[in-house]
């Protein structure tokens, strides 16, 4: 086992760190990754520390990495834990180590290229986690072809008093629909309040195609079940209903990556589930069955492996109309 080394407190280094003394070096697959403030509590209600955040990402990495690979990543950083402030970071920080790969993506809004981080290896994940990047938000496309989504996604977002169970019901309606189209769909929890449904594509397609398909399907579902489902974004329309958010299918949007932690009270994870589990939760009226913390997820993957593996591999063609 490699011996942990404490970094030398060279004056140059102290300029970049609030307490150089707390800085440590973790040897990750041969890379020196500086880590700091490991004892800091990031989830106060659970006493979950920064060290535990990094530990979770290390342990889940064999399953997580394929889903992050080559996808531009937006960091959502909570430097003081979930109760502190957070900020999104699209532009990969300029002080990144040179082994953190980046991908340029043209931004119309800024009229310039934004260099996103790519978390293609474990050192990059550990580095990001050390920055307080609790949540990993990725593109639906890969960096080599940012205009081609590899999947279609629906984000089912409940407006209180609607909850996870309403999302489960809505998700099952979506599944029925995709079944009828001979398309396989895969559910995961958002790790927050809702459920997300993924349809793997991995075939040539554009965001225009996926977005208009998703929009049309959301409207169809809303028309069929207006008391349960809403397709328009306005918050006030969502009360007691589930927003079938189709708009995530956009070149400019990122969605929380499978196996990402969420910055909630407990260290919950965006977790892949089986449709049978969704059905069972609905039947038993138990939203708790669709909420998983990092510990539970690590146990699940030992048993289930990566339920989301097909999302990366399965080639499916979207029909023109839903």
């Amino acid at each position: 086992m490699a011996v942990p080394r404490s970094s030398k407190s060279a004056p140059a280094r102290s300029a970049s760190s609030r307490s150089a003394a707390a800085k440590q070096i973790l040897n990750v697959n041969g890379r020196d990754v500086p880590v700091s403030h490991l004892e800091k509590i990031f989830y106060p209600k659970s006493g979950f520390t920064k060290a535990q955040v990094i530990d979770y990402y290390i342990r889940i990495s064999p399953l997580l990495l394929p889903h992050l690979k080559d996808r531009p990543l937006t960091l959502k950083r909570y430097p003081d834990g979930v109760d502190g402030g957070f900020f999104y970071e699209k532009r990969c920080p300029p002080y990144r180590p040179d082994w953190v790969k980046t991908a340029p993506v043209w931004s119309e809004r800024n009229d310039t290229e934004i260099h996103y981080c790519l978390a293609n290896d474990l050192p990059s994940i550990v580095w990001a986690a050390n920055l307080g990047d609790l949540e990993l938000h990725t593109f639906l496309s890969r960096a080599d072809n940012v205009d081609r989504p590899t999947m279609l996604v629906f984000d089912l977002d409940p407006g209180p008093p609607a909850n996870m169970l309403h999302c489960a019901e809505t998700g099952l309606l979506l599944k029925e629909h995709f079944d009828a189209l001979n398309l396989q769909s895969f559910p995961k929890t958002s790790g927050s309040k809702g459920l997300q449904v993924y349809v793997p594509l991995n075939t040539p397609i554009t965001y225009d195609d996926t977005k208009s398909f998703a929009h049309a399907l959301a409207i169809e579902l809303e028309n069929a079940r207006p008391e349960l489902i809403v397709s328009r974004m306005e918050k006030r329309l969502r009360t007691g209903k589930v927003l079938v958010d189709w708009s995530q299918n956009d070149r400019h949007k990122t969605t929380v990556c499978v196996y990402s932690l969420r910055a909630k009270e407990r260290p919950t994870v965006s977790t892949p589930v089986e449709w049978d589990e969704v059905k069972a939760a609905l039947k038993k009226k138990s939203a708790e069955r669709l909420a998983f913390t990092s510990d539970e997820v690590l146990k699940r993957v030992e048993k289930n492996g990566d339920l989301f593996a097909p999302v990366l591999k399965l080639k499916q063609k979207l029909p023109r109309n839903p």
Partner: protein, 278 residues
Amino acid sequence: MRAIWKGSISFSLINIPIALYPATRREELKFRLLRAKDLSPVNYKRVAEVDGKEVPWEEIVKGYEYEKGKFVVLKDEDFKRADIEATQSVDIIDFVKLEEINPIFFDKPYYLEPEKRGEKAYALLRDALKQTERVGIAKVVIKTRQHLAAVKPQKNLLALELMHFAEEIVDASELKIPEKPEVGARELTMAKDLIEKMSDKWDATKYTDDYRHALLDVIHQKVKSGGKAPATRGAAKKPTNVVDLVSVLQESLEHAGRSTSPKRKTTTHHKRRMSKAA
């Protein structure tokens, strides 16, 4: 609120009667000294150096040591004689731009309240200062000292801020300060980036005296438990060993590197739980 001083602001031919109120207070916990065995309060006595005898207040005078061991006695009327001219007024000498004053000169703030028949002139001075973005620099004698002071508009009132005289500012030229940092552009960028990240709008209410609050908690607990040390040591942080946490993570890494197939049943490593403070 009690006025600590009354007088008037004067400049040119204008005279504004005002009262002075402290704008800050010291939030400090006060402790009494006690005799340990019976908690009797301990008092100080003023004793004469020469014979160790206690000196009653009425026999005490103030003296100035003008030469080692040589004193000149000043009585109340002497002090009065020195400040008789100035005591009752804040004499504005100049008007200057606030940003020209190094904040290090400011010492202690007070609020000014207009006295009878001063309201109109008070408002006039306040608004004129606001519109010209200037503050009045004045001299004022409070108790036995003359102070430099600034008369500043602050929202709807006028504040008086006591200032240091230039001769009270300590010369910093003796300190060894690096002229140019011996760091590269990269370090500077990192530092600047960090500052950018930690930048926030100034909000005074965000910062509180944590030590005082913690100490008050301890006091309340002790009062409740009848003066005994509380059973738990409050929310005192346990010392954590950072190096140990690193080795715990390092061990996780060793494992993650080895297990490429997540389906393989691995036992011991995954079962191990991380403790909060390893």
